[in-house]
């Protein structure tokens, strides 16, 4: 199984932190083999053409941007 690559895009406000924690919690609950990274680099964020942070990118695909979903919703996005 390939590792699930999770990226949290955002410059570091409170919402970004919450998304990071919830995403990791969801990944752990699902028992995924994952790696998670917080990305504040503007160039990378723009590369994904994301307009509102925080944003969640799973294996290179933008799953949600501009809001912080619940852990339950994140589990759906990660599986």
């Amino acid at each position: 199984m390939n590792k699930t690559r999770i990226e949290i895009l955002g410059p570091g406000c409170a919402n970004c932190k919450t998304l990071y924690e919830r995403a990791e919690s969801a990944a752990r609950d699902l028992g995924l083999d994952y790696e998670i990274e917080k990305i504040a680099d503007l160039n990378v964020i723009l590369g994904y053409r994301v307009m509102s942070t925080p944003a969640l990118v799973v294996n290179g695909q933008v799953k949600v941007s501009g809001r912080v979903p619940s852990v339950a919703q994140l589990k759906e996005m990660l599986s």
Binding site: G10, N15, L46, Y48, R49, V50, S52, T53, G66, V68
Partner: protein, 351 residues
């Protein structure tokens, strides 16, 4: 993988049907709100034996009445706005604004600024996203000005503490400042003061999957907004009301009239200049504003102060430095500041 095909679908966990609970919640809210006056009177007068004539009595009674009232209103408004916001995303707003010329674009951008969910931390990606879609600089600024300034927390609290007229006035003038300031910035043709690398970026469609939301999702969105916003903001509201209660109980009438009253012509610019470098969330400052008003400060001065505090935030300005050259930032701050001062004078003159 044939055994997977044969097994029955795993049922989704039973979640609470929010739509069913909604009518009950609304009724409960209405009942609580209507009984507030009587309950708080009973609490302060009969249970605690506080006389409204004393400083302490007056202050505590103020607190007991205002705190639950404001929190109830805040909850309702945040819930409602949370639902409205679920219909809007920055991506959709970008598409709507893309073709529009100035003037009409400014009005639309200011209006959309209110309903589009926006966190100041995404000011830069949003700014770039708008510009690369061909949205004029001035129109983008109209959005960036109205989004933080006309926020639902401020409106809910103004409505709760001063009535719908003041809230409507704040909403109206907030929009006007956003529209006109954005339009002026557009007319000044300051595009060369945007960091050059921004315009070199290739525009493209957003990759984000457009989510289809059901009404149940939207209600959940509203509820999440209440949990997040009210959950974060309620201590500030209580402290603000407590300070307001203290001023209400102890500061003599018309004390503020001397510094923030109508007769002093410099009160508006002074209030705005003090307010600009300050940044607070709306919740913390409005109850204080209430008490100031009660003690004789002029409405225009106080509202201008509030706008100055909420509209311009140092963190957001620092973030915008990545895409705006100092001249443009200065013009942005200057135009908004002057707009707010004008609004302050207008209120003092009209009311």
């Amino acid at each position: 993988m044939s055994d997977l095909a044969a097994s029955p679908a795993i049922p989704k966990p039973r979640t609470v049907q929010l739509a069913r609970l909604l009518p009950f919640a609304l009724v409960a809210w209405i009942v609580a709100y209507s009984l507030l006056g009587r309950i708080s009177n009973w609490l302060s007068r009969d249970l605690l034996h506080l006389s409204p004539a004393t400083h302490l009595g007056s202050a505590v009674a103020f607190f007991i009445y205002e705190a639950p009232k404001v929190l109830l209103l805040l909850t309702l408004v945040v819930f409602g706005v949370g639902i409205v916001r679920s219909f809007f995303t920055p991506e959709r707003t970008r598409v709507i604004l893309a073709g529009k010329k100035e003037s009409a674009g400014n009005v639309l951008a200011a209006a959309l600024g209110i309903v589009t969910p926006f966190c100041s931390c995404s000011a830069v990606p949003l700014f770039i996203g708008f510009l690369t879609a061909g949205i004029p600089l001035g129109v983008t600024f109209s959005f960036l000005i109205s989004a933080p300034m006309v926020n639902e927390v401020a409106l809910a609290l103004l409505f709760g503490l001063f009535g719908w007229k003041v809230a409507a006035l704040y909403l109206g003038t907030g929009l006007v400042v956003a529209i006109i300031a954005g339009w002026i910035i557009g007319r000044l043709h300051l595009e060369r003061h945007v960091e050059p690398w921004v315009y070199k970026l290739v525009s493209g469609e957003s990759d984000t999957v457009e989510e289809r939301l059901t009404w149940e999702d939207r209600l959940r969105h509203g509820l999440a907004a209440v949990r997040d916003i009210v959950g974060k903001v309620w201590p500030y509201v209580l402290v603000g009301i407590a300070v307001g209660a203290g001023i209400h109980g102890w500061v003599p009438e018309n004390f503020m009239a001397s510094i923030m009253g109508k007769s002093v012509w410099w009160s508006v610019p002074l209030a705005v200049v003090i307010g600009v470098p300050m940044y607070s969330n709306a919740a913390g400052i409005i109850p204080v504003v209430h008490a100031l008003l009660e003690k004789g400060a002029a409405l225009g001065t106080v509202l201008a102060f509030m706008m100055a505090v909420i509209a311009l935030s140092l963190p957001e300005t620092i973030i915008l430095r990545k895409v705006l050259k100092p001249t443009l930032i200065a013009v942005f701050l200057g135009v908004v500041t002057i707009g707010i001062i004008v609004v302050g004078y207008l209120f003092n003159w009209l009311i």
